[in-house]
Every structure is written in structure tokens, then in C-alpha cells.
């Protein structure tokens, strides 16, 4: 079942700024979905529309089976906004209780979950300290804990690892994987492509208010799969017929079938050519992202 399913979301700001120009996407239960895009692509606007923080110009679709904008649905959604700001006068524990109460979590559940989450996110010992004394990474962890206080079915995280050190990032990745195992849908909005690549089941790339690509990383990079055979010396003449591309002393054969490169390797050996390396290569998320963004796309929303 789809946790989020939206069709043609449009947001036009004053001054005819088209932040979203008809975004459609789907996030399934039990998957981690990553939303990528350059600055001003409309990622945060889309997330804020889902969380009713921004009113869409046009929206159709559902979140957890209820129309987008239904306030009661938010009871089952956890949300961590980008650059969130907690009241400086609250302690970590008070933050969790405050936002938990606003999410209609009972007092008993708040008590149990707060200590469990503080512990799980490595903040035990800090629960009674004012958040003004927290580091950026700790605030981020507290933010994630806050988003989990209502035991959500859907978790929407905007830049969750922002300011978190590598150890913390790994812990967060592990936590997200655990949450996925529990059947929750996770919607991630991040700039950190390598992070997303490690954890996301599916991704969507947004550029100028439109989804350019959407799917599993594997399916999106399928066409880019190839073998690169590097040899010493000059590329033989016959190679142009069996290779898709030649770069210096590297022969490139597109596809992911290892059998397809065997005849080429046999012939190279027969020619007594020294083979330096044979590498199966595919695009990483960064390459995919750059391809989607096309380098020509400057940051910012469409005018």
C-alpha cells in the first residue's frame, strides 16, 4: 500500500514563481524513499505541503489513505523539518513531551517513548539539560527522536543527517533501516547523495519543480551499466567493431552481461595484449543526479 501517493502537485508563489509544476510520486509502506534535487528544486516545498505547513495551489492524492491536508492523519506522521528550532528554555525530555503532547500522545506513552528514544539516539544523560546547550548533531538526534514520539507509520525527514558526525550518521542509517524493518515508510529529503544511496530503496530527482527521474537506484542506473577493459599499449584496430566506446587505452562495452565481454577478452589474450583491469561500472547516485540536473539547470524555482 502507498503511504504517500500524489498527483500533479502545483505550488505557485506570489510573483508567479512556480515552485512545483505538477509533481507526482509514490512512497510505499516499508520503504525508504529519497527525494533529491538541487537548491530551489521544490523539495522542501513538497514536504511542507504534505505536512500542511504550506498550502498547495493544486494537490490531489493521499497520505496514509487520507486526502493530503487532512489534519488527523498527521497523528500518524513523524516530521523533522530542515533547520528546526526547539525552544531554548526546554530540556531534551521536555521537548519530547511537549511535541508528543501536541501529537496527542498519552502521558504514559510519552514517558516510555521519551526515555527509550533518548537512549536509542544516544542522548541519555542529556535529557535534563536545556537544548540551548546541545551541539548541532545532538539537536538533530533530538529532532529525529521528536519525530518518532508518536510512533508514526510514516516518517518524513528533511536533511536528517545535517550536522551529524560520521558515527552519528551511521547510527541514524541503522535506525532508519530498523524502522523500515518495522514496516514504516520513510520519506527522506537530503543533499547527501552517498547517504541516500546507502539507505534508500527508491529515489526521485526533482529539478525546477518537476520530478525528472523516479525509481530504484538499480533501475535508474541500468542503462549506464558497462564494462571497462583497460589494456597496456594501443587499442587494436578490431576493437572499434566490438566496443561501444574507446577512451585512451580503455575499451567500454555497455551492458551488465559478463558473457558479452568474454569474446573480447579471449581475442585480447590471443593477441598477447596485457589486460590491466576489467571493471564492471555503473553510475552512482551522484552521476545520476548530475545527469538529471543536466548541469545546465541553475538552482532556483521556475519563473
Amino acid at each position: 500500500m502507498a503511504a504517500i501517493q500524489i498527483n500533479g502537485v502545483v505550488k505557485i508563489y506570489r510573483g508567479n514563481v512556480h515552485a512545483l509544476q505538477g509533481v507526482s510520486l509514490e512512497v510505499m509502506d516499508g520503504e525508504i524513499f529519497g527525494l533529491l534535487g538541487p537548491n530551489g528544486a521544490g523539495k522542501s516545498t513538497l514536504v511542507k505541503i504534505l505536512m500542511t505547513v504550506i498550502h498547495a495551489t493544486k494537490v490531489s492524492g493521499a497520505m496514509l489513505g487520507k486526502p493530503i491536508g487532512d489534519r488527523l492523519t498527521l497523528q500518524d506522521v513523524g516530521y523533522l523539518p530542515e533547520h528546526h528550532l526547539f525552544p531554548y528554555y526546554l530540556t531534551g525530555k521536555q521537548v519530547l513531551h511537549h511535541y508528543g503532547a501536541l501529537a496527542k500522545v498519552t502521558r504514559n506513552d510519552r514517558k516510555t517513548r521519551a526515555s527509550k528514544l533518548l537512549n536509542r539516539l544516544g542522548l541519555s544523560g542529556w535529557e535534563n539539560k536545556k537544548v540551548g546547550t546541545y551541539s548541532k548533531g545532538m539537536l538533530q538526534r533530538l529532532g529525529i527522536a521528536q519525530s518518532l514520539m508518536n510512533d508514526p507509520k510514516l516518517l518524513i525527514l528533511d536533511e536528517p543527517t545535517d550536522g551529524v558526525d560520521p558515527v552519528g550518521r551511521r547510527e541514524i542509517r541503522d535506525l532508519l533501516a530498523e524502522l523500515r524493518e518495522e514496516g514504516r515508510a520513510i520519506f527522506l529529503n537530503s543533499h547527501l547523495l552517498s547517504e541516500l544511496e546507502m539507505v534508500c530503496d527508491r529515489v526521485a530527482i526533482m529539478v525546477k519543480g518537476l520530478v525528472r527521474m523516479q525509481g530504484t537506484i538499480d533501475s535508474l542506473t541500468k542503462d549506464s551499466k558497462r564494462y571497462e577493459i583497460t589494456i597496456s599499449g594501443a587499442i587494436p584496430d578490431w576493437a572499434t567493431a566490438c566496443c561501444d566506446e574507446i577512451q585512451n587505452n580503455t575499451m567500454i562495452i555497455r551492458g551488465d552481461d559478463p558473457l558479452a565481454i568474454q569474446p573480447t577478452l579471449d581475442r585480447l589474450r590471443a593477441d598477447n595484449t596485457t589486460i590491466i583491469s576489467v571493471k564492471p561500472v555503473r553510475e552512482n547516485l551522484e552521476d545520476l543526479f548530475m545527469r538529471a540536473v543536466d548541469n545546465k539547470d541553475t538552482p532556483g524555482a521556475a519563473q
Binding site: 489534519r71 498527521l74 521536555q94 511535541y99 521528536q146
Partner: protein, 390 residues
């Protein structure tokens, strides 16, 4: 549950502010100073007996002592401390509540919860009044004890200061909220609220001054008409005896002067009314700060007139009953009759009529119309808040 969370958050926010505790401390000092005033058989004792003032009227058990003690609370502690100084401190403390609330990064966390924006806005607004409610509540408890111990009157009406001062504060705070969510700046909200407060004060003062002038002219016209009537009766009496009496010319001259006075006063009255009428309309639709605070004076003052107004005007008269003292001053009628021809009597009559008219203003006029204004401002603020993309 959500409202409780917001209430608790508001309390934590306020108690984290140093100014809250400073105001609280000053409030307690004011109450202690108030409690240091007492009455004994000889007169007034100040600073727990360090300073004694002998007085026939203001002594233990006298209605004037009650009038003074209650009057200090309703006219000075409320009118000066709570309505001006504590309100200014409260505005400084609370002006940033809404700008901080709608601050980017903070508002998303709250708005993304299952709580309607309208409910959230008004809940936040109401809990923000907690500063004033807490301060005034503690203040009133102190005053209640002081009044009970000092004059033996355990008057629960003292606690009516809590809703009155909170309502008074809310007239200003609604502007602070509107500007705060529009500009997201606490300083701007505070400055514009200050300007609005001064504007209200100017409107109220202008109306009161113009009203006073209007009544003065009305009194003058009435007095001139009375003078004409009396002079004409006297003239008829004299003319019946002799038509050549030297007083006839004098009286005719006096009647003429009265008529000229009436024409002058009427002209002035017309001009003043031209100014007073629109001013009173503006006042009618704007929050009535002074009159709201004045409600407490109306509710707490002695119906028999033994109040601080009379003490301040020097109108203290002898009283009868258990605590009456011997050799009292002139009777009321004597004072009125004696003063009728003087300028003092005209001023006193003007003040009496102003007070009477002022006290005739219904609770609806004073608080209802002010709350309508507040509702209008909050309506704009809430619509903006509900429609705003954060």
C-alpha cells in the same frame, strides 16, 4: 492535552525570562509597601508604624480610612503600577512570544501536528496572557490579605482585578500579536504596540478634555439661565414697588450680561461639540483602557461617597454613626450652597456630571466594544496565520 502542553510551554517560556521574575519581585515589594500602611486610633501609620500621621477622619474604623485604603489599591496600585508599569514590563516580556512562535524552523514543528491552525492560534494567544494573569493573581492575593488585615474587610471583589487587568492588557497584546506575526520581529511588535498605546491614551485624554469643556459650557449656560430667571423674578418684585429704583438698571444690565454669556457659551459649546462628537465616536470603537481599569474603582468604591476621589478633592465631610467624631465640619448642604457661586462649584459640578456619565457607561460599552476591536484585530491576525505558508 494539546492546550495543556501549550499552557505548560507558555509558563516555561515566561519563567525562563528574567524580566518575569523582576516584575514579580517588584510586585511583591509594592504589596509589602501597601501592607505597611495601616490605621490606628490616632490616624494613619506608614511603613509599619515608622511614621504616624494624626487625622480625625482617617483613623481606624472610619469609612474614610476604608475609602483611602481601597482607593490606594484601585486608583494607584491598579491605575499606575498594574495599568502602566507592570503592563509595559509585561509587553516587553511577551512581545517576542508570537515572533518566536512563527519563526522559521520552530513553527513547522508545531503546525505539522494534528492541531488546527485556528485553535493553535487562539490557544497560543490565551496562554500568552498567562504572564499578566499570574502577576496580577499574586498581586491580588497580597492585596486581599493586606486589606483584610488592615481594615478588616475580606473583599473578594479585589480579585476582579485579575480579569480586568488581563482584559486591559489583551487590548494592547492583540496589536503586538498582529505585528509580531506579520513582521516576525519582537522589537517592531513592541514599538508599534507602544505607539498604539500612546494613540489610545491620546484619544481617551482628548475625549475626556473635550467632554469636560462641553460640560463646563453646559453648566455655564444652565447657571446663566438660572441667573436670568432669578434676576427677572427680582426685577418684577422691584418694579412692583417702584419703576425708578436704581437696582432696575443694574439688574437689566446683569440679565443682558447673562444673555451675552449664554450666546458666547453656546457658540463655544457648538464648536466643542463639533470636535467632541467625532472624538467620542473614535473612542466608542477603540479599546477603552482607562475605563476598563476604572471599572475596578467603580466596583470597589464606597456607594456612600467615602472614597478616594472625595479625599483627593478635599471633600471629606463629617460622617455619622459609630465612628463619628465630635465637632464635625460643615453640613453637606452648607458646602454646596456656599460654593454654588464660586468657580470651584462649577468645576465640582463638572466633575460630578463627568463621573456620573462615566459611571453610567455599561459594561458592554466599556468592555464589549473594546473586545469587539480586539476580536477584529485578532480576526485579521488569525486569518493571516491560517493562510500563511510558513
Amino acid at each position: 492535552m494539546q492546550l495543556r502542553a501549550l499552557l505548560l510551554d507558555a509558563y516555561r517560556q515566561l519563567s525562563a525570562a528574567k524580566l518575569f521574575w523582576v516584575t514579580f519581585g517588584i510586585s511583591i515589594l509594592v504589596v509589602v509597601a501597601y501592607g505597611s500602611v495601616g490605621f490606628n486610633g490616632q490616624g494613619i501609620s506608614v511603613l509599619f508604624g515608622l511614621w504616624e500621621i494624626e487625622s480625625e477622619e482617617l483613623r481606624e474604623g472610619s469609612p474614610w480610612a476604608r475609602g483611602l485604603y481601597i482607593g490606594i489599591f484601585s486608583s494607584f496600585l491598579i491605575n499606575i503600577w498594574l495599568a502602566w508599569i507592570a503592563t509595559a514590563l509585561a509587553l516587553i516580556s511577551t512581545c517576542s512570544i508570537f515572533p518566536e512562535f512563527v519563526h522559521s524552523g520552530s513553527i513547522e514543528l508545531t503546525i505539522a501536528k494534528p492541531i488546527g491552525r485556528l485553535k493553535l492560534f487562539f490557544a497560543k494567544y490565551l496562554v500568552s496572557l498567562l504572564f499578566v494573569v499570574l502577576q496580577v493573581a499574586v498581586f491580588c492575593i497580597g492585596v486581599f490579605i493586606c486589606v483584610g488585615l488592615r481594615i478588616g474587610e475580606w473583599n473578594p471583589m479585589i480579585f476582579s482585578a485579575i480579569p480586568i487587568v488581563a482584559t486591559f492588557f489583551s487590548y494592547l497584546f492583540c496589536i503586538c500579536v498582529l505585528v509580531g506575526i506579520l513582521t516576525r520581529s519582537g522589537i517592531t511588535a513592541l514599538l508599534i504596540t507602544g505607539v498604539f498605546w500612546m494613540m489610545l491614551w491620546s484619544i481617551q485624554t482628548s475625549e475626556a478634555v473635550l467632554h469636560r469643556f462641553v460640560i463646563e459650557q453646559e453648566v455655564d449656560i444652565e447657571r446663566a439661565n438660572e441667573g436670568i430667571e432669578k434676576s427677572e423674578i427680582e426685577l418684577v418684585k422691584i418694579q412692583e414697588v417702584s419703576t425708578e429704583d436704581f437696582r432696575i438698571q443694574k439688574l437689566e444690565k446683569r440679565i443682558e450680561t447673562y444673555k451675552e454669556d449664554i450666546i458666547d457659551s453656546q457658540e463655544l459649546l457648538d464648536k466643542l461639540t463639533q470636535w467632541h462628537t467625532p472624538t467620542s465616536w473614535v473612542l466608542a470603537i477603540s479599546p477603552k483602557n482607562s475605563q476598563t481599569i476604572g471599572l475596578l474603582d467603580r466596583w470597589l468604591s464606597d456607594p456612600d461617597g467615602f472614597d478616594i476621589g472625595a479625599i483627593m478633592n478635599g471633600d471629606m465631610r463629617a460622617f455619622e454613626g459609630e465612628y463619628a467624631y465630635e465637632g464635625g465640619s460643615l453640613e453637606v448642604e452648607e458646602i454646596e450652597e456656599f460654593d454654588r457661586t464660586t468657580r470651584g462649584a462649577r468645576d465640582r459640578e463638572t466633575m460630578r456630571r463627568m463621573r456620573k456619565e462615566y459611571e453610567s457607561h455599561s459594561l458592554w460599552y466599556v468592555v464589549g466594544t473594546s473586545l469587539l476591536f480586539e476580536g477584529f484585530i485578532l480576526g485579521i491576525a488569525s486569518i493571516y496565520f491560517c493562510r500563511k505558508d510558513f
